[in-house]
Every structure is written in C-alpha cells, then in structure tokens.
Amino acid sequence: MSQRIIVIPAYNEERTIADVVREAVKFADRVIVVDDGSRDRSGELARESGALVVRHAVNRGVGAALGTGIEAAIRLGADAVVTMDADGQHRAVDAGKVFERLAQGDVDFVIGSRMKKSDDSGHMPAHRVLFNTIGNVLTFLLFGVWVTDSQSGMRGLSHQAARTIELRTNGMESLSEFLKEMKDKHWRMAEVPIKAIYTDYSMSKGQNFFVGVKVAIKLIFRRFIG
C-alpha cells in the first residue's frame, strides 16, 4: 500500500501547529513535524495533534528541517512526500491535490503554486507577488529553471526524488535549491494551483526585504562556489 507522508518544518509555531497537523492528518498516512529547535511548545502540541515529531537540538533553518523531514519520511517508507508550512498559510486539502498529481506517476516533483490561477486561487498581497517574482527571476538566472512560484513551501516529491534529493543550504534559499536538484537530477515537474491563506501571523513569518537579500547572497554562493 502506498504511504503518503506530509512533512512540516516548524520553528516556534505553537499558535498554529496543532490546527495545521489536525488538518494534515486527514490527507496523509503520516505527518512528520520537524521541530527545528523551537523554544515554545510547538513539538509537544504537534505530537498531541497526531504528528510524529523529529526534533533538531538547535535551530538550523527551514531548509535543514525539510532535509531532515524528507530523510525521516524515506526511512519510514514514504512513497510520496509533500511539504507544507506550519504557519497556517497552506490548506491541507491542497496537499491532497499534490499527492493526487504525484500519484498519476508521470512526474517526480510537484510545486503547489500560489501564482497559478484557478477557480479556487486566493489573492496574494502585492509585496508578496514582488518577492516571488524576484525569487523566480533569480532562480531562473542562477539555475536555469523557470516556474511560477519558486518560493512556495508546498512541494511534492516522488519516492525517487525524496530518496535522492541533497539539500546543501539550510535556510529559505533551499526553496530555490529544490529546483536546482530538479534540473540536475532530471526530475519531471508539474505545478498545481493552490490557495494560500494570508493572515497577519503568516505574513509576519514570511520573507521580508532583508531575508530576501540574505537568500539571494546564499543562492549566488551556492551557484558559483558550491
């Protein structure tokens, strides 16, 4: 029987993690929360809500947490892995859509795109559209891959992709590094429209100008130095 696992990296997300996990378990056989060295009760609440919690002893960043979560999923026998954010920005029903797309078997990697329009699409705030567009352009210039939402935290990986992915970056820049891996390893890719829920809380957790600059520097370093 195929095993679907959702991976959620979490750092100080006690306000939202319980609800996110309770929804996620409806669309997966297992939910893994990677507690990335939180100083609050994120891990405890995630466990009480039905997730398997893997804990980083110290905070290593979202990319490192995703790498750990994907590795844990493979060790637990995952046939497909979907990642989603812990801040409540993603709907678990969209994770289900990503699993469905992977189940068609013709792709290895699926991006849940907030920029791709559908009947169900939400409205992305203008500054987020700008950050995403810059992220898309930078990802294209550095890695030669064009997608509509290079910074989406909702991604799906087939067993093969999850088994072979090697993320070297630790922070938000890993979102673009996924696409480098996709290109280097010749994964077949699809994008599925998803709806993001923007709350004051999720907006406060996302990218800002300074994070964007740091991500850009790290990506350039990753591209040219290794």
């Binding site: 893997v54 490192a64 790498g67 844990a72 070297r168 130095i225």
Partner: protein
Amino acid sequence: MHAIQIVLICFAGFALSRVLIRYRRGGMRMLHLGLWIAFWASVAVVAWLPDTTNLLANWLGVGRGVDTAMYLSILMSFYLLYRSFAKIEDLDRQLTRVVRANALREMEEDQRLSAVERSK
C-alpha cells in the same frame, strides 16, 4: 624612522609570534605557516623600507608604492572575507549533518521503543 614604522614593525613581529605559537600547537599546516610568515615579513620590510613598494609599483605599472600596497591589501581582505564565508558555510553544513543524524537516531529509537511497547 617614523613612529608609524615602529608601530607597524612591532605589530608584524607580534603577529608573527602568534603564527609561530599556533603552528607549534599544531593548529596550522606548513603551507599556511609559510604564507603567513611571508605576509607578515613583507609588512615588516615595507614598513622599514617603504621605497621597496616603489619597485613593485613600477613593475606592476601602478605608479606609487603606497597605492600598490593599498590595492594588494584590499585584494587580500576580499580573499580572507571569502575564505571566512566559505569556512562558516562549511561549518554550518557540518553542524546540520550532526543535528540531523542525532534527530533521526532519536526518532528511530522512539519508533523502536513504541514497537516494543505495542508488542507487550
């Protein structure tokens, strides 16, 4: 000799002594020892005999010896900055590997204990 020359020569001597102490404690490779000795010895020579930079400046076509020293210092600073950044990145990755290995080992141990509990 001007005061600034004495200060620079003393500083180069101090830096050289630190390099030698570090090497003797085993904290530095022979290649790096040679490079640092060459660098601080050059600083001492240039401070003592500033006109030596003019020879290098003429050879490089820069003009003034002081300008050559400034250009080389800036180049050296950028290189050291790059080396530091690369080292930090490397340490960052190694730390993540350790933290990840530990987290996964704990997960597997918890899984094993849960399986034992269930089988009772």
